[in-house]
Amino acid sequence: MLTRPSLGLLGRIVAIILLTVTIEFAASTLLYERAGEFSIKEDEARRLAEHLVIVQRLVGERPPTERPAIARYLSTDRYTVHWQRTAPEPRALAAELRNMRDQVVEWEPSLANAGLQLQLASPGRHDIVMGEIVLADGTWIHFKMHGLVTGWGLQLNRIVLALVPAIALAVVGGLLVRLTLRPLKTLSQAIESMGKGERVIVHEEGPNEVRNLIRAFNRMQDQISRMIADRTQALAAVGHDLRTPLARLQLRLDGSSDAELRQTSERDIGEMEEMISSVLAYLSGDSDPEAAARVDLAVLITTLVDDMADHGHHVSYHGPDHLEAQVRPHGFRRAINNLIENAIHYGDDVRVTLSDWPGRIVLRVEDNGPGIPTHAMADVLQPFARLDSARSRNTKGLGLGLAIVSQMVEREGGGFTLVNRQEGGLRAEIVLPKTTPDQQ
């Protein structure tokens, strides 16, 4: 099934802010535009108004002969001024210029009496505005104004100006939302480490809903760890308590004269004891943690190999006589023992190899048995997993052997892998990081 890519909560909230800000921005721009179709900047209007009043006065004071010259003199790059005797054709004020005329007249009311007219140089071009005013003697001044910041130029400007606060709002909003959501992030990290078996109490902070969520999580965590502890304890207690009746059974058997019964029952007791101790070993990580110590691994392994050899198994050791490592001695001993026993169970020739590599120690247990079908490789590390799904009684124990190895090696910060050898049989490999005594 395809999952839609998710923006995340923060992304969503930022998107919502952006959307609302954009809508607000578009709406206000549009409304503003409709209201002041063609207004110009206030100071532009003032400048035009003042300029026109000065031109009106200066040109009006001069005798008619000097008027063209003074008009030329008063022209600038932006304002060109002409004096003419005849009145221009009266034209209706273009609708979009009404606002501009109002602005100019508002600043210099006298211009209203001077018959101020405004036109666009050509329809649609908003940067050239022409117009006329009448002088006291009835002659006219024609003016043309270039480069007015009007129309689209003005709009772009305004858009940019309006965008700045919008963007700032979005950024501030985003940061605030992020701050608000931070407890959620802490919570999700805590849940992750809880999954790995650590216990993290999350500090209650953030908005009410998040606080409630954190409180619920903390409570749930307490309940779960209490429940696990209870069950672990119960299971361990059952394990311990079973040993007393087993001890009775064993002693009663020892008094029996039936040699065959004694032998077979003793095997059963041994098997039961093996199950109990493997469950206790599997639980021991939680209920009875062992401290790491410096151990001569080579001697630890040879001790196990010697013991197997004494019991008639074909097990050989290849490696140095001494190799020290920092491990939990009994847990690790059990792990190696499980590997060797497993190898003996499936094969009849077992090689244990210990190698001292730079930075790590590699331990291999290889057998000449049938190996493990590829599809079952991942399952065999699961607790209570056994290769023969029928749970036939020809395999000993509860199927905790390799799960215990995996757990113990993980506790040492090492890696545990199983591979089928090309020449047949299984290779179990433990790689331990090397630590110096002062590193722990």
């Binding site: 007393t244 001890a247 064993q250 020892d254 001569d296 010697d306 020290e324």
Partner: protein, 258 residues
Amino acid sequence: MTIGDPSLGVGYAHTVPFAVPVMTAPTILLVEDDPPLRTLTARALQENGYIVRPAATAPEMWATFEAGPVDLILLDIMLPGTSGIDLCKAIRQRSTVPIIFISARGSETDRVVGLELGADDYLAKPFSTRELVARVRAVLRRGGIEEQRRAVPSNKAEFDGLTVDFARRELYSRSGAMIPLTGAEFDLLASFLGHPQRVIARERLIELSRARIGDSSDRSIDVLVSRLRRKLAADDKPAPIITVRGVGYMLNAGVARI
């Protein structure tokens, strides 16, 4: 009767436990709260020639303890109401009587704590009659040596750069790493350390290693010695155990109690 009254024979029983004639069967104080198991264990011991005084609780144990001489205490550490570890400590404060712990926990922590508190050995449930009798016999036999080492303030010894912790029954390398030994190997080493630079006859070593039948395989003493040698040897020098042809073996190193 007050507990700990010095007039009640505690000192008498345990300062001279081996002055009791060998013909007299040793007395074992069995502390076990499970009645059927108590009966079965007692019967197994009696059948093997020991006198058993059973007790179900700590107060019963103290009463029995003060009532007459005891050569060994077999103590279940999971007694209701009292921690076996506390009980062991309390016994040790008054007496050096050998103690064997019985535990259903089988955890190594328990074993080490028990041995450090002065218990002499450890027996994990379930145990067979053979194992039980072997441990009892070994501890009683070792008693003399244990008495000696208790007279010394420390439970550790050093030889050839290696350190031995007798209480924990562990050996440490020159760099302080634990060198795992089997029970039989440790007993063999302890015998050597008890008689440094003296030849020990093969027969005596066989006898010493037989005392501990927890390792039931009948491997020869020579295999045991060669395995111990390999564990004691360093990369640059051989183990300090010399073969004396036709006689036995000798530890060729000085032993310092620390």
